[in-house]
């Protein structure tokens, strides 16, 4: 589904991604792990068009999407969430998700007419809110949600676009243990519906839910494979897991 070939990205003289290659199969949940500063978020940013790569290529469903703009990628079915909440603080939870759902319609920026009820925006929005467990907070301003619920809304925005590939950047970061459990449950449910690439530091969770794990260190791939294999990998143990 997604194929990343020899991706390189530098900022000034600092090389963040170095000749990184991997692939993601349809229906797979692939986790990306690595120490802080390994280049995980930069990798997301390069794939999703925030930064253009210096070298290398990204293919999505056999289409070259290297350096494509975020809105183009979103319309191809690639959605992402952010490590730091990046939604519409002063809109309600419903309005946030509605904007995402509306974005799939042909008349998404119509000026002279409303979206007819037949377009199903409201129904689809409620469906997404139900899925992320925020239907009771639909009318609340996004900025007034608890942190855990804000993290769910972050995913709800990505889900609202109806993606075929969902890229989640540390969805449990900053969450309490209780909130994390609820998020883990959500991601497990989502993995039955959509292909997921997940950046996550909770190794226990990653080992439990992933089909495959990519380990990067200083922008380079040091290992890739099923969780059991990664757990046994000596180099992964040395640079990241530290004898888990």
């Amino acid at each position: 589904m997604l194929k990343v070939d020899n991706l390189c990205k530098s900022f000034s003289r600092l090389r963040i991604l170095n000749d990184l290659s991997f692939a993601v199969r349809e229906g797979e949940l692939k986790a990306i792990i690595g120490p802080n500063g390994a280049g995980k978020t930069t990798l997301f940013n390069v794939i999703t068009g925030r930064f253009a790569p210096d070298e290398g290529a990204v293919r999505f469903r056999d289409k070259d999407i290297t350096g494509a703009k975020p809105h183009v990628l979103s319309n191809l079915g690639l959605a992402r969430s952010f490590q730091i909440n990046n939604f519409f603080q002063n809109l309600t939870v419903f309005e946030n998700v509605e904007l995402a759902v509306q974005s799939r319609l042909e008349r998404r920026t119509a000026v002279w007419r409303d979206l007819p009820h037949t377009d199903g925006v409201e129904a689809r929005t409620l469906e997404v809110l139900d899925l992320i467990g925020l239907n009771e907070q639909a009318g609340a301003l996004a900025c007034n949600l608890s942190y855990g619920d804000q993290r769910k809304l972050e995913i709800g925005l990505a889900l609202g676009t109806g993606p075929s590939l969902l890229m989640l950047d540390e969805p449990t970061s900053g969450m309490s243990r209780f909130e994390s459990l609820s998020m883990i449950e959500l991601i497990q449910r989502l993995s039955e519906r959509v292909t997921i690439i997940l950046i996550e530091h909770d190794i226990e969770f990653v080992m439990k839910v992933s089909d495959s794990i990519l380990v990067i260190h200083y922008g380079e791939k040091i290992a890739e494979g099923p969780p059991a294999e990664i757990e046994r990998n000596e180099e992964v143990q040395r640079v990241y897991l530290g004898g888990l």
């Binding site: 809105h71 319309n75 904007l99 799939r104």
Partner: protein
């Protein structure tokens, strides 16, 4: 009573505006009707500016460009081709669309302070061109314009009577502009505008082409500024480079912030306050702008959401908010 006000407050305001001239000269002189006409004309431009700055978050310091462009198009068309307002408006809108797309294409590639200064640079280019090309524009002396007419050419045309005729003409355009802007902000497009103002990057990640939306928003404000410019020049029978000057664009920001940006009604209210207050104060002192400036500073400190924000905090208005 309050239920009626709540439900029909816009119609009540419209009724008041329609009946306003009947109070002249019993309650106020024709001079004030002239001021109200100017408020309505500026109101048209402020409505468009609110779509751009208030809803989309793109603060332009060069919007007078299209007000002045409308004025100069009116001057050339009325003096050389037709005094009828319909073709005058058509010519002005065609010219401003071409220039608006050009300026908008480059300006919307930027945001924040860069957008402010790029729009300012374009506007000042046209201002200096109008100021220096004396053979065509009359330079600083401007151009005197023949009386504009309305009607159907070769069937029936009439000069627009003043002050009443022009007041009602401005009112018709103002009401139409308000209806259009209200439609825009309540449309799917309007929701995306607000989203861009709130978080441009995320809108892009949702699959919207930010650039296209921004250009659309820009063009709506360009067209309304042009219509206002045509009406203003035709009303004054005169156009000068002052209509293109950045100070006028600055006034738009002042009026919008004072009234309450992103509310449609607020900027028009701000425009009315500045025009009426400026007129009253200027009859009292030469240094009237100091008082306007002081008032603005106080509003920014104590009521950053503008006059409309203050009103919405008053219990009665909050309880009866429509």
């Amino acid at each position: 009573m309050t239920v009626i006000i709540k439900k029909y407050y816009l119609l009540l305001i419209l009724a008041a505006l329609v009946l306003l001239p009947l109070a002249s000269p019993a309650l106020f002189s024709d001079y004030y009707l002239d001021l109200f006409t100017k408020i309505l004309i500026f109101g048209i431009m402020l409505l468009g500016y609110d779509i751009l700055a208030g809803y989309t978050g793109l603060v332009s310091l060069g919007h007078a460009l299209f007000f002045g462009l409308g004025g100069y198009c009116a001057a050339f068309t009325i003096n050389h081709f037709s005094s009828n307002l319909a073709p005058v408006l058509a010519v002005a809108l065609i010219v401003s669309t071409a220039i608006g797309l050009f300026v908008g294409f480059f300006s919307t590639q930027t945001k924040d302070i860069f957008f402010v200064f790029l729009t300012l640079a374009f506007a000042q280019f046209f201002y200096l061109a109008a100021f220096n090309m004396t053979g065509i524009t009359g330079g600083d002396n401007g151009i005197t314009i023949a009386k504009a007419t309305i009607g159907i050419p070769s069937l029936w045309t009439t000069k627009i009577p003043r002050p009443y005729g022009f007041y009602y003409l401005a009112l018709v355009f103002f009401v139409l502009s308000f209806a259009i802007c209200r439609r825009v902000i309540n449309s799917p497009f309007g929701k995306v505008l607000v989203a861009i103002r709130e978080n441009e990057e995320r809108v892009s990640y949702l699959g919207y082409s930010i650039r296209k939306v921004k250009i659309k928003s820009y063009m709506i404000s360009v067209w309304l500024a042009t219509v206002a410019g045509v009406l203003f020049a035709a009303y004054q029978d005169f156009v000068s480079p002052g209509m293109l000057h950045w100070a006028l664009s600055g006034d738009l920001i002042l009026m919008s912030v004072l009234g309450g940006m992103g509310t449609l009604v607020g900027p028009v209210l701000g425009g009315a306050i500045i025009i009426l207050l400026g007129d009253e104060l200027s009859s009292l002192t030469e240094n009237w702008m100091i008082f306007i400036g002081g008032f603005f500073v106080l509003m920014i400190i104590f009521a950053p959401k503008g006059v409309l924000g203050v009103l919405s905090n008053i219990r009665w208005f909050r309880n009866h908010d429509a």
